[in-house]
């Protein structure tokens, strides 16, 4: 119980749909969602497959708590081999889609093969079928969502879809559900596109059964109270969103600016949470309209924004005047500080376009930042950009490229390669701020040392959501550590990585971890799911998942050499702020991390480690 115990296997090549029983032994070992789907992927595909070939598979997966009334329990993940990185990819999203899939009676959907013609997958409880998506091919997320709802005459249909970006191989194309929630990273949308799979549309009304309903309700109520009593989850996140970090991270000197040339951005305040709440001079209204919550969430960190109707981006485009998904911190950073653009309305418009066309705003913004540096060096000229003046700080260039990349047109196709391939193409591979091909998020590892190790060792390439030591190093959760030192960071990174893998496999949002530890998650799982679930066991599950992902990546051809950072971060010191004079101390932390993990000096899990984790 809590798992539905069955999943759908869809062979796109043959056009078949089958129901299969969930492997209960694997559920015991890998919990659900990220962990369990990673196990299925690792068992079912050769890690060396071309991610965009029919031999890759893509799994939409829920966790055991998804669809229950535990707080934030609406999460699902998309697991596949990522085309941006060549690593295992697992992108997590909120909104309503995940809970709907679970309520339709399915723990996950495994898509394999490649359809001959564009299709979408429609699930209505037990009925599940592939349908013709020709009318939606080439359409945006917003058009597809509206079109499918109209076609099925069901305004409550929950749609996860790609845009033209995913159809045309933009390597950081994402999957957007519920109009503006995204399984964002690593190019999972391009995998969908390569399979001619336009969308998954789901309607479920079965409910989710739990093991001990009375104990579950009591536990859920207690843990919701913990969120309600915590200043971050009850006040900070709903009021200011994740964007509260813009000024914080700038102040501590860890806000990567202009493709990581600097660590502080003088425009940070103008694109921050505080600015989003201020009335604009032009129309007296604030950019932020309201906050919003994903399914069952009692935190509600989501931002809903409305662009200034007189702003250049939409003055002649009334179709963008409605309120829609606004800036989260990572997007605001990538579109803003990374590119040197401090025009809040332009960033909001670029963010709308990222949602509308299903591209990852982090990788998009970071790639534009790299392109801007290449342009200023003369390696890219206006000839390549089609006349776009691609200098740092140009809002016009940013918004034009968001549209071109989202539609996979013109110079947008080059941006759609991602920063690593773009910088290689134009002769400056060192200017790509990536790990394993994936662009960095919004924390400079010179100013927050633990994040350097976290990025270098992340199993899906540079990422903040695999081990968010910022919580400890900056915010003091669960304990404050010094962001400028490397001491103790190996153990800290490992602890965050393992705990996060468990959170990500349960069906809940990682933002609960500002108030919850696994001690708060375990009683909810234990009341909902068969078996016995303790915090200690969950940590073991998390560590097992981490090692499973690592094994996949090693088999895919990654080596310890890939656990590194760009030269700029290892050699060029921060120029301002508390980290002035410091580069990343990765070389000190990495051997200690391998040792903590029970890996060899070459970064390979030892036989003993694999045995301890039931991986051998």
């Amino acid at each position: 119980m809590s798992w539905t115990g069955k999943f759908l296997r869809v062979n796109l090549t043959e056009g078949t749909v089958k129901s299969e029983a969930l492997n209960r032994e694997w559920a015991r070992l890998y919990l659900g969602q990220r962990g369990l789907a990673s196990k299925y992927l690792a068992e079912e595909i050769d890690p060396r497959v071309d991610p965009l070939s029919p031999d890759n598979k893509i799994i939409f997966t829920t966790g055991p708590l998804t669809g229950t009334n535990a707080s934030t329990a609406g999460r699902y993940s998309v697991v596949t081999k990522g085309p941006l990185t060549g690593c295992i990819a697992c992108s997590n999203s909120g909104g309503m889609f995940g809970a709907e899939l679970k309520n339709a009676g399915w723990d996950m959907i495994i898509f394999e093969g490649r359809a001959a013609k564009p299709v979408y997958f429609h699930v209505e409880n037990d009925r599940a079928e592939l349908r013709d998506a020709q009318p939606f091919w080439g359409k945006t997320v917003w058009e597809t969502d509206a079109g499918l709802k109209a076609h099925h005459q069901d305004p409550m249909l929950r749609v996860a879809t790609i845009g033209a970006s995913g159809e045309n191989g933009v390597l950081f194309a994402c999957i957007v559900n519920d109009l503006h929630r995204a399984a964002g990273r690593s190019g999972v949308g391009a995998v969908m596109g390569s399979k001619n799979l336009k969308a998954v549309a789901v309607r479920g009304s079965k409910g989710v059964r739990v093991k001990d309903p009375v104990r579950f309700l009591k536990s859920v109520a207690e843990q919701k109270q913990v969120l309600a009593d915590n200043a971050v989850t009850s006040q900070g996140l709903p009021t200011y969103g994740t964007q509260v970090l813009m000024n914080v991270i700038n102040e501590v000197g860890a806000l990567p600016t202009r493709n990581f040339q600097d660590v502080q951005f003088d425009g940070a305040r103008r694109i921050s949470a505080e600015a989003m709440r201020e009335p604009r001079r032009s129309d007296g209204k604030a950019n932020l309209v309201t906050n919003a919550a994903c399914f069952g969430c009692t935190i509600a960190c989501g931002r809903i924004s409305q662009i200034d109707p007189g702003h250049y981006t939409i003055v002649n485009r009334p179709e963008y005047r409605h309120a829609s998904g606004g800036l989260e911190y990572e997007a605001a950073w990538a579109l803003g500080a990374a590119t040197g653009v401090d025009d809040l309305e332009a960033l909001t418009f670029a963010n709308f376009l990222c949602n509308e066309h299903a591209i990852d705003p982090i990788s998009f913004g970071a790639t534009v930042a790299a392109a801007m540096e290449l342009y200023e060096l003369g390696a890219i000229t206006s000839k390549e950009t089609g006349g776009i003046i691609l200098t740092f700080g140009s809002a016009e260039a940013l918004t034009a490229l968001a549209e071109l990349t989202g539609k996979a047109q013109g110079f947008g196709r080059d941006i759609g390669l991602g920063s690593k391939r773009l910088c290689a193409k134009y002769g400056h591979p060192d200017l790509s701020m990536t790990v394993k091909g994936q662009e960095f998020p919004a924390y400079d590892p010179r100013g927050i040392q633990g994040m350097g190790l976290s990025y270098a060792t992340s199993n899906r390439g540079a990422c903040h959501l695999r081990g968010y030591t910022v919580a400890s190093e900056i915010m003091g959760t669960p304990v404050k550590t010094d962001p400028l030192v490397t001491d103790g960071k190996a153990a800290l990174v490992k602890a965050f990585q393992d705990a996060t893998a468990a959170f990500d496999s349960a069906g809940i949002c990682i933002f609960t971890s500002f108030a919850w530890t696994l001690e708060n998650v375990a009683p909810q799982l234990d009341a909902a799911c068969e078996g016995e679930w303790t915090a200690d066991y969950l940590l073991e599950v998390g560590e097992r998942i981490w090692n499973l992902e690592r094994q996949f990546n090693l088999a895919a051809g990654m080596t310890a050499k890939d656990d590194t950072l760009p030269k700029r971060l290892l050699k060029e010191a921060a120029k301002t702020g508390p980290a002035k004079g410091l580069a990343s101390g990765l070389a000190t932390m990495l051997p200690e991390y391998y040792a903590q993990r029970g890996w060899s000096a070459a970064g390979v899990p030892t036989a003993e480690t694999l045995k301890r984790l039931a991986l051998a």
Binding site: N247, R269, E274, F511
Partner: protein, 86 residues
């Protein structure tokens, strides 16, 4: 002779406590030779529970050190209530 000044920045829910004339979440405050981090927090009647992330020139000052940490001319003192994000 004019007094020496430092920059005070209050963010998030503490924005309401900014002194008159503040702009963009910051204001200049006058400081004397004995002004400390704790002294500024007390003088502005900032709720102690909300002064979670206290940064002097970007460096975290733990609660136990706030009484003894002086503010010098040109320093930037920035304060937030508990924050989270990512």
């Amino acid at each position: 002779m004019s007094m020496a000044t430092a920059t005070l920045k209050l963010f998030s829910q503490l924005s309401d406590y900014l002194p008159p004339g503040a702009d963009q979440n910051q204001a200049l405050i006058e400081i004397g030779p004995s002004t400390t981090v704790d002294g500024v927090i007390t003088a502005l009647a900032l709720p102690a529970g909300k002064c979670h992330l206290v940064l002097l020139n970007g460096v975290f000052i733990p609660p136990s050190e706030r009484i003894a940490t002086p503010i010098r001319p040109g320093d930037a003192l920035a304060i937030w209530p508990p924050v989270g994000g990512g």
